[in-house]
């Protein structure tokens, strides 16, 4: 059950190190229903690591992630249920059709009617006609939509996206934005990391800057991108 203030995911003092390298240092964040938190930063800032920790794929070296108030742990798989994750890889199996891939995800999340849920998810991303195709037959843009369908099939409350606009042409990026916006209006929370701010700017309700593993800024998105960019560059180059 969502907590009273609509918060879905919270990170408290998150740290992640690889050996002596501190990739994430003391990150605090929160995502609520209908939020679109766009996290920008240069390459190597720790964005992918942050997402993997938030998704429960990697364990933080210190601090914790809470989903709906419960601490995320590998030993408590149920805590991962409200989360969906769109990686920069498609997470699909080449030898299964799109429908089978998405139905597999539905089964893994214990959905009652996996095939129906899969078709519904594919319809919502306008891939229903290609349900019987294999991933290797699809372009990058279509593969991305399929990956989103897979991530959404179990009706998560929060979607984490890792550089979703990479490799997409303008129409494909626009389609993705529309799809995400539509879901957001229905209450889905989004946390999106990117280093292409232009793609995600219009989608955002809040913007944050991650650089060198540090959370440098977080604020509501106000004003156009052109005003934000100089501030962003100043922060990152400091």
């Amino acid at each position: 059950m969502p907590s009273s203030d609509g918060g879905i995911l919270a990170a408290v003092s998150l740290e992640r190190s690889f050996g002596h390298v501190r990739v994430l240092r003391g990150i605090d964040l929160e995502v609520r229903r209908g939020d679109v938190l766009v996290v920008v930063g240069p390459n190597g800032a720790g964005k992918t690591t942050l997402l993997r920790v938030l998704a429960g794929l990697a364990r933080p070296s210190a601090g914790e992630v809470r989903v709906l108030g419960r601490k995320l742990e590998r030993t408590a798989p149920e805590t991962r249920r409200p989360i969906g994750f769109v990686s920069h890889q498609s997470l699909l199996y080449d030898d299964l059709t799109l429908a089978e891939n998405v139905a597999l995800a539905a089964r893994l999340y214990g959905m009652a009617r996996p095939r129906a849920a899969a078709m519904h998810a594919l319809q919502s991303v306008e891939l229903a006609e290609r349900a019987h195709q294999r991933p290797r037959e699809l372009s990058r843009g279509l593969l991305q939509r399929a990956a989103v369908a897979r991530a959404l099939v179990h009706d998560p409350l929060l979607l984490l996206l890792d550089e979703p606009f990479t490799g997409l042409d303008v129409p494909a990026a626009e389609r993705l934005r529309e799809l995400l916006l539509e879901r957001q209006r229905r209450g889905l929370g989004l946390l999106l990391v990117t280093h292409h701010l232009e793609e995600a700017w219009d989608l955002a309700t809040r913007v944050a800057v991650l650089s060198g593993g540090r959370w440098l800024l977080e604020e509501g998105r106000v004003g156009p991108l052109v005003e934000f960019l100089p501030r962003y560059r100043a922060l990152v180059n400091a």
């Binding site: 798989p77 991962r80 890889q89 997470l91 030898d95 893994l108 999340y109």
Partner: protein, 226 residues
């Protein structure tokens, strides 16, 4: 049924379906098995070494290497598009993931063994009429043990650069006790020896299975987490 069993079956079914479509592991393992049997057969001097002396070793060496080919594939397929993350994201406990992978691997290895056995009868001209149930039982007993170890080592090997080499290097020492046991029992079965002569080895195989399936299941969590 308990949730983790259902999840294990979902994962195993996925692996089997994917493999039936692509057939790479099954084909390569079967071809490999046939080649090994042929070589064994041609390489021996029929006047010096009778078929029944060589047969059990030939059979089990074939099974062992073909199994490794099959097991390697199981985790390679997870690496392709990061699909393993998909399994780890879902609320699937690592015991279910292990059980699913183990079942799928057992299915693959059993399929290869089922093809290799008739070829074995063909090339070595052995009479399996009385020994067949015993051989099938022994095969099951021995296979479970080293496939469990192969499943967890496969999960590790796939994260390294030379995965195809790493799995055999890690796995071979672990295959020796079950292989020795299997060869000993098989040769006694073929010679129609009484059961009492095999009990020691059969017990070895059974205890090995219990210990290593349990250990692999418990250790699997440490291998897949980040």
């Amino acid at each position: 049924m308990p949730e983790w069993i259902r999840l294990a079956l979902v994962i195993a079914a996925k692996d089997v379906r994917a493999e039936l479509r692509s057939k790479t592991a099954l084909l390569s393992a079967t071809v490999f098995a046939s080649l090994v049997l042929v070589i064994f057969n041609f390489a021996r001097d029929p006047t010096a070494l009778s078929a029944t002396d060589l047969a059990p070793s030939a059979l089990w060496v074939t099974f062992a290497f073909a199994a490794m080919v099959a097991m390697n594939r199981s985790f390679t397929v997870e690496r392709e598009h990061g699909a393993l993350d998909g399994l780890l994201l879902a609320p699937v406990p690592s015991s279910a993931l292990f059980a699913g992978k183990l079942l799928a691997n057992l299915a693959f290895v059993a399929a290869v063994e089922a093809v290799a056995l008739p070829l074995f009868v063909l090339f070595f001209n052995v009479d399996l009429s009385r020994a067949l149930p015993g051989i099938i039982g022994t095969a099951a007993l021995a296979t479970i043990g080293f496939v469990a170890v192969g499943t967890i080592f496969g999960a590790m090997a796939v994260r390294t650069r030379f995965a195809e080499l790493m799995l055999p290097v890690l796995l071979l020492p672990f295959m020796v006790p079950p292989l020795i046991g299997a060869v000993q029992v098989t040769s006694r079965l073929l010679a129609a020896r009484p059961l009492s002569e095999m009990m020691g080895w059969l017990r070895l195989l059974a205890v090995y299975d219990v210990v290593f399936v349990t250990l692999a299941a418990l250790a699997f969590a440490f291998v897949v987490e980040e």
